[in-house]
Amino acid sequence: MNVDIQSLGTFNQLAHEGAEQATASMSQMTGIDADVDVTQITLMDRGDVGEALDEQAFVGVEFDFAGELSGQTALVLDEACSETLTNALLPGDAGGEMAKSGVEEIGNIMMSGFIDGWADYLETTIEHSPPTYVEGIGKEILPTAGDTMADDQVFVFKSEIEWVDASVDFYIYMLPDQDSLTELMADHADAESDAIPVDKLHVFNRMTQQGTRQAAENVSMMTGIDVEAEVSQINFARIEDVPKQVGTGRYVGTAVEFTGLPSGFLLVLFDETSAKNAAEALMPTGVEGEELTDQHTAAIEELGNIMTSGFVDGWANVLQTSIDHTPPRLVHDMGRAIIDPLAAQVGQHQDHAFVIDSRMRTDDVEFESEIYALPNDEELREALEELAVERAEETDADPEELFQ
């Protein structure tokens, strides 16, 4: 079963326009000024879906939908956001069952708008169930996985809705039945030349997960901090949405350009506290003060270099090629400001981009790190075409075999 990059782009656009329609409906009902911040398709383990929701309390509305495309959707919003919505709908009477009913109705109208665009594009009808009001902590708010195993890879659509003048957590998730989605993608793959076999995309995702584990092991070995790979996923988003994948806080890290098949850019980022903790774990002697010094940044530069190699070496070994990268360039800025110029360079040749997004963390000290890879999508497709699925586990190379 193949998917083509053009279809992924079309489906991403459909989801984005659906989310815009849903958001416009909400604004019309409540008077709240809102817009869709970002929409992306993600290939990830089912067990990791909703991981980004952390441990926050959410309310939401769920639907099943069926037809040429089937699955589940969920409107997910934080409690403050829900309260504001119901107050706007039912001023002075926003408590209890009435509030739930209000959220349900907003969800019903929004999600109808979201689904209708898909039905129109597919020139068919998509039926959806009545809305179900749900409450939950973190990813518990999302529909259950049913028969899908935690390590099964799934495509998930997610749109983030932002309000003007307010910071809210407000999302639309669509979790299509995978058979239904891949059949649809195959049917709409109108350019066989840029098609990617879904099983190879799955293998590539596993390779990036292994790369993340290797990078985490390298950090542990260098710093003594017991770091674990947490989430690794492949996002597909419009170029203008790529910078929004990275947080708005300040980050320290390294950027490299890699060449080979595929070429692209790779970022290793740490928030400032994590950077300081990791750097000090590398240094033989302590450093006074709270500021990042030249010693910290030199250590981060080398850590980023080694993590970069740990991440891409597995790709090169499985693909039986070499991937070169430039010496690491230190970056220290707002997250989006760091990735923006790289996205712009990739965007000279493509409208959408795959963003490989991996995270690692530890509970021992405050430490989190994120790796973002931005490959050229045409070259990634070519690389996957060359990929021998049976070599998927061959990520490590042993120098002793060659230097005897």
């Binding site: 260098m222 030199a298 270099n305 090169a316 070994n317 490590d396 190379a397 060659l402 230097f403």
Partner: protein, 119 residues
Amino acid sequence: MPEVLIADDSEFMRNLLREILEEDHQIVGEVENGVEAVEAYKDKEPDLVMMDIVMPIRDGIEATDEIKTESPDANVIMCTSVGQEEKMKEAVKAGADGYITKPFQKPSVMEAIEDVVPS
């Protein structure tokens, strides 16, 4: 004591290698790129070069190739974060005598050196 030249663009890594090696080796130079590595080798003729691969201006494989072409008896250990099989083959072709991947600890560095320059 064996004389060692360290070629790595990372000051942090040069410091780390120096700390590991200086007890049993004489560090005769530290350079930041492949061009400087070739020049320093010609100048110092050390017993061993610890050579990074990814360096600006000229990478470590090209530098190794030039050193080994001009001085076939030179001893060069690639000391790199790159763990790609194809890159290791390139290093073999360039004449490298050993290969250790970062992150490393003192025992693996000493073992690699012992293999190439037995004490």
